[in-house]
Symmetry: C2
Subunit: 199 residues, 2 copies
């Protein structure tokens, strides 16, 4: 079996966005397979009793600067917080799974995160979602219909339940084997763990 990093993320999570811009390079540098796994962060918080970091006003104020520091560090467009933040991400997360069926999950993820956290768009807005689907060559009406299928809904729930069962309490969550890492700022440990593994 080849070595693998699993990346659990949600489209409403700015720190997952940051990690999404780096995780492919980490996998490439270490010769690891990358599994993109959308999950529903709100349900993770509910299941674990954890709370979003921005629930605290003092922390929220700092987070804005911290996110800007990270986007500059990674040489991305300056971080932008959408007016709609935090938006309901369930539709977007399901669309991620639809994109996955078509082999376009990474492309869809990069395009949607850019729209949301670099351009400040509302990820729960159907117009925004349709435009991003179109950008990556997925017919919007068809994808939006497929996102309502029970199979897709179940798949998102399954990813979420599995992550919580394996110890996740926030996003982004990474697994290397059974080893759990939480947060964009733990990518250095993810990379170390992958390097220390044989293929």
């Amino acid at each position: 079996m080849s070595k693998t990093v699993e990346f659990f993320f949600d489209y409403s999570s700015p720190y997952s966005y940051l990690a999404s811009t780096q995780i492919e390079s980490v996998a490439q540098r270490t010769g690891a397979q990358l599994r993109w796994r959308p999950f529903l962060l709100g349900a993770v918080f509910k299941a674990t009793g954890n709370i979003p970091p921005a629930s605290n006003l003092h922390k929220a104020r700092y987070m804005l600067q911290d996110l800007l520091n990270w986007t500059r560090h990674y040489e991305l467009p300056d971080f932008r917080l959408p007016d709609s933040f935090p938006a309901n991400s369930v539709k977007a997360d399901r669309l991620g799974l639809v994109a996955q069926e078509k082999g376009k999950l990474p492309q869809f993820t990069h395009a949607l995160y850019r729209a949301v956290f670099a351009e400040g768009r509302d990820l729960s807005d159907l117009g925004v979602l349709s435009s991003v689907l179109g950008q990556v060559g997925l017919p919007p009406a068809e994808a939006l219909a497929r996102a309502e299928a029970q199979e897709i809904k179940d798949r998102l729930r399954k990813n979420t339940d599995e992550a919580v069962e394996r110890g996740s309490f926030g996003a982004p969550t990474f697994f290397v084997g059974d080893d759990l890492y939480v947060g964009n700022d733990r990518l250095v440990f993810v990379e170390k763990a992958l390097r220390s593994q044989r293929r």
Copy 2:
């Protein structure tokens, strides 16, 4: 004025312990002055409505592994959580200020953190505190008496209030000028900020 990094820390905070093992090198590498500033983390949480990360059970379980990852990354003795965690740190923090009056704050800090987070000792125990004071050449009885002086109590409160006023909500907290950085995992940004400043 020479460039300076301020390091606010509390003896009950394991992530402050981690940062305390690195901050002198960061200051040295960047030619910055380092100001060690004990503060009372419990009072910071109270003032800001923030909660300790380990209050959540799922997070607490992960934190133990995360702290072990960090001590291995920094090549320190394996992290050890004292049975007494989280212990009341007010006496220890005041002793830090007493050590500072004697020019021994860094030595006292390294010795106390090692006792607590590498050896699992109870930082609220007078025997532990006395032993650490002795190790760094401070007569324990005298230091413990001085720690009860109003001037010392006020100094700890002043450090704490100032940190909160400037945006702190947790530990460790760093300032480079007015720029706030929170967490051992933000030392990379602290170092970048110091490098980008002229003397």
